[in-house]
């Protein structure tokens, strides 16, 4: 591999990697529509034809001793370089002669080197021969970030150019990509597919690092067994709202400051929404998504919304009461707005049990014409119990989350997203007509096309046990991990 390659993907044992990857991917999901299945079948057949039959045997012939794919930067775009250590050199050469038109193929020791264009003429062993690729995996890659940044110029993602929530959500990754020198990737194929990425830079220590909350080990309420999804976003909303102009674009900062000018008056002039309310909660917060409750008596919306519950441990008891006060104020504003629109107001009432207390806003009975609107299925709730405050879209969702056992996660910091396939697929199946209509109106598709789209989505989601994404920001390294696990 030439020293000038800026990105290299390496596979130490291609035959084993092919076997492991195919096992991890599993068969085509059962519910995939026939049209898509046919296209996949054509694709698989073409791959097999390309590989002269069995893919594993092909990998053995072409690269039993390993393979690497590198990219050099050239004026005409990235130029690929392929280095193979064949199991059957004659067969590999023959295959290259038949299929690798446009490539220059030459031997280098026991390897074959395939190049395109002049820029790769000087292929040689060098720094990539001794470069560390990190943890062992089916596929590994190392990328030099600095030359890519120079080549990409203004196309490279920059935090200053991000809009909206992306400024907060993507700050750690964009900062690492913008300041790091090396990104390492590893794709593991045992127990599902696991893609790990590591960048040798961290947002900590930079001005944006203030967005990361100072975390002490604390218990979190776990996602119930039938939960759909869970998200822990490791950002400090306290810091964000304390100096919004530092983290948001000017227009959003004004919106945030306008909100604070009202919110700061919740409990009189001496109360600060940021310091007293948010400061009284332990960050990061966790959002749980639960399947819809079983249908109640009476009319229900055609689209059953999942339950959403935001959970935060309380640092002080006073913060809990402030949250309730804020909820009362917001409920009043929302009710005035509903009344202006001719909508029935929510009945807001305090509730108390032996173990907790809170505020629940319940909709009145539906008397209007036509299908029940979505908001009639909501019963927004703020509940305080077991040292947590739960802000939920329904009272039932709040109670269900509070029934979960508290757990101390291995890493109480870092972003973590978990989506479970089966409950999401069940939700999609139960709400198809309205979900399809949403896509028709968004994309302009007809009903048949929207239905085909969700047939595929539903089949893929049902075939997944779970998808997990995590991002951990260390002192000088940023690590991300994506795990896809098939349903068994």
């Amino acid at each position: 591999m030439p020293d000038t390659a800026v990105a290299v993907v390496r596979c130490v044992d291609p035959p084993a990697a092919v076997t492991a990857l195919l096992a991890a991917l599993g068969p085509v999901p059962a519910g995939v529509p026939d049209a898509v299945r046919a296209q996949l079948g054509i694709g698989i057949t073409m791959v097999r034809a390309f590989c002269d039959g069995d893919v594993g045997a092909f990998a053995d012939r072409m690269a039993r001793g390993g393979a690497a794919l590198g990219f050099e930067l050239a004026a005409g775009g990235p130029q690929p370089v392929v280095v193979l250590r064949p199991g059957d050199a004659a067969a590999a050469r023959r295959w290259c002669g038949e299929h690798a038109s446009g490539w220059r193929v030459r031997a280098h020791g026991d390897c074959l080197v395939l190049t395109r264009g002049d820029a790769t003429a000087g292929a040689a062993t060098g720094r990539w021969g001794t470069e560390s690729f990190g943890e062992a995996a089916a596929l590994q890659a190392t990328i030099d970030l600095a030359p890519l940044r120079v080549a990409a110029g203004s196309q490279w993602p920059a935090w200053e150019r991000l809009d909206g929530p992306a400024r907060v959500l993507l700050a750690p990754i964009v900062h690492a990509l913008g300041s790091g020198t090396r990104c390492s990737l590893a794709l593991h194929a045992a127990d599902g597919l696991r893609l790990c990425a590591s960048i040798d830079a961290s947002v900590r220590g930079s001005p944006l690092g203030a967005l990361l909350p100072a975390v002490a080990p604390h218990a979190e309420l776990s996602l119930p067994a039938d939960g759909v999804a869970s998200l822990r976003l490791d950002r400090s909303f306290t810091q964000l709202l304390r100096t919004p102009q530092q983290f948001l674009d000017p227009a959003q900062a004004v919106v945030a400051q306008s909100f604070l000018s009202i919110a700061d008056g919740i409990d009189g002039a001496s109360t600060s929404f940021v310091d007293d309310l948010l400061g009284g909660l332990v960050e990061p917060f966790v959002l749980h998504v639960l399947p819809p409750e079983p249908e109640a008596d009476g009319p229900v919306p055609l689209l059953q919304l999942p339950g959403f519950a935001l959970v935060a441990p309380l640092r002080t008891a006073a913060a809990g009461e402030l949250v309730l006060q804020a909820a009362r104020m917001l409920a009043t504003i929302a009710n005035v707005e509903r009344q202006q629109r001719g909508r029935a107001m929510f009945l807001v009432r305090p509730m108390r049990t032996e173990t907790g207390h809170g505020l629940v806003a319940e909709p009145g009975p539906w008397r209007g014409p036509g299908a029940v609107p979505l908001d009639l299925a909501l019963s927004p709730t703020v509940w305080i119990e077991r040292g947590y405050v739960v802000v939920a879209s329904t009272h039932a969702a709040a109670m269900r989350v509070l029934q979960s056992p508290g757990e101390v996660p291995q890493s109480p910091s870092g972003d973590h997203l978990l989506v479970r396939g089966a409950p999401l697929a069940a939700w999609l199946a139960a709400n198809r007509p309205v979900v399809e209509l949403g896509r028709m109106l968004d994309e302009g598709e007809d009903r048949a096309a929207a239905s085909r789209f969700f047939d595929l989505v539903q089949a893929v989601v049902a075939a997944l046990h779970s998808v997990q994404w995590s991002l951990d920001v260390g002192d000088d390294v940023t690590r991300a991990e994506l795990v896809l696990e098939r349903a068994r």
Partner: protein
């Protein structure tokens, strides 16, 4: 049958060509793809009108799903989606007409569900007998709230609804008296809205005698409707408006009289009158062809339909709004000011930018891509001819064609860019701004 409204018959010298078909689909719908226009041409004028006037599918299930969202952007996207996908183009055209006629705005109501239900009423009754449509609209929650009839009571009569009923919906200015308005307002007292439905509040209704159009009695709202729709002035008022909408912005007296008579003789069946109009010599006369200015909906949705493409309804609706026609938010009770009011230097630039963005896939994402719309055209001049056929009705003379072909030639071998450029050039021509 009046000569003006006699069916137009194609002849060897005046055939039912693509220009005539284009005229029909632009006025009786929101344009159509070239393939559809050719299909209608083969069918002939009578069958073509019958196809446009075919009733729409039962949209009840879709409406209920839409109501679930309770979102005005979705309601607007729904109307655009129907226009893009619906085969029942005349029904949708009439619904757009009635939306302009009974102009109700969500800016005041903030009630997407009522707005959606009103649109559904237009779809259901807009092509039927006017008496039924008017009766439904006088019970329409959105319209009643829009014109303040939900506060019209015996103790405090509110004349707003009654005034617009006569001035804008049925008779036109000068065909009723202030006393008629006061009587009608009293007749509609208690016609209120409760829980999103029409509600007759008997205890707030003025059941006393009223005098309307020189007749006296304890008139109700239904009596007002019945006595209004039969008046000749109502037929003339509606006929003049239909002629301005479908035929020519400045209809002549004889044309109004002819259509009003046909409407009355047909039992005030709107659909029958409009079908007769669309088949008539008057409709296919040179005076009508390209005599109107395209509004934003006609321009935006007509462009997508003419290209036989697909685009994102919400974004198209937003473009229409930027051009001055935000459906469900008419500027006033009079609806939109049309014709020349649509055109301004800024509007022209916006129209040009919309087409450029649509063809370049910037935000609008037209599918299929422009090049695939003209697969058989390789040379610049052939691309230009194909673009004229797609967007206008015929290939023009070389003096017009060649400059457009030069636009294609400027893009060399880049077929996608050349196709997009010629389509954009044609869409920016003055003729393309005309309906």
């Amino acid at each position: 049958m009046n000569d003006l409204l006699a069916p137009w018959q194609p002849t060897a010298g005046d055939p039912f060509d693509l220009a005539k078909v284009g005229h029909l689909v632009r006025r009786g719908g929101f344009s159509a793809s070239l393939a559809k226009r050719r299909e209608l041409q083969r069918a002939g004028p009578l069958a073509a009108v019958a196809q446009l006037a075919a009733p729409g599918p039962d949209g009840a299930a879709m409406l209920q799903q839409l109501l679930t969202f309770d979102d005005i952007q979705r309601v607007r996207a729904w109307r655009v989606w129907l226009v893009l996908h619906g085969e029942h183009q005349l029904q949708l055209r009439l619904s757009a007409f009635w939306h302009d006629h009974f102009a109700t705005s969500d800016r005041k109501l903030l009630d997407p569900r009522s707005m959606a239900l009103q649109q559904a009423t237009f779809d259901r009754l807009g092509s039927g007998v006017f008496d039924e449509l008017l009766a439904a609209m006088c019970r329409d929650p959105a319209l009643l709230r829009w014109l303040d009839n939900d506060v019209n009571t015996k103790a405090n009569p509110n004349e707003n609804f009654a005034r617009e009923l006569f001035e804008l919906f049925t008779l036109g200015r000068g065909n009723y008296s202030e006393a008629d308005i006061r009587a009608a307002a009293r007749a509609f007292t208690g016609w209120h809205v409760r829980d999103g439905r029409f509600h007759f509040a008997a205890h707030l209704h003025d059941a006393g005698d009223k005098e309307l159009f020189s007749a006296r009695g304890p008139l109700t709202g239904d009596d007002v409707i019945a006595r209004t729709v039969v008046r000749r002035e109502s037929a003339e008022f509606l006929a003049a408006k239909w002629l301005r909408w479908f035929v020519h912005p400045e209809p002549e007296r004889a044309e109004v009289d002819a259509l009003a008579a046909a409407y009355e003789q047909g039992g005030r069946d709107v659909g029958a009158a409009i079908r007769q109009l669309l088949q008539s010599r008057l409709f296919f006369s040179p005076r009508a062809y390209r005599s109107k200015v395209k509004g934003p909906a006609e321009f935006v949705l007509g462009t997508v339909r003419s290209l036989g493409g697909r685009a994102k309804p919400a974004q198209l609706a937003a473009t229409m709004g930027a051009l001055g026609e935000s459906w469900l938010e008419p500027p006033s009770v009079e609806g939109w000011h049309r014709e020349r009011a649509w055109l301004s230097p800024a509007a022209w630039l916006l129209r040009s930018n919309f087409v450029a963005d649509l063809l370049a896939g910037r935000g609008q994402q037209l599918a299929p891509a422009p090049r695939t719309l003209m697969p058989d055209s390789k040379k610049p001049v052939d691309l230009a001819k194909a673009a004229f056929l797609l967007l206008l009705d015929a290939v023009p003379a070389r003096a017009v064609l060649d400059p457009v072909a030069a636009v294609a030639a400027a893009h060399g071998a880049d077929a996608d860019a050349a196709a997009a450029a010629v389509l954009h050039a044609v869409a920016c021509l003055p003729e393309y701004q005309l309906l």
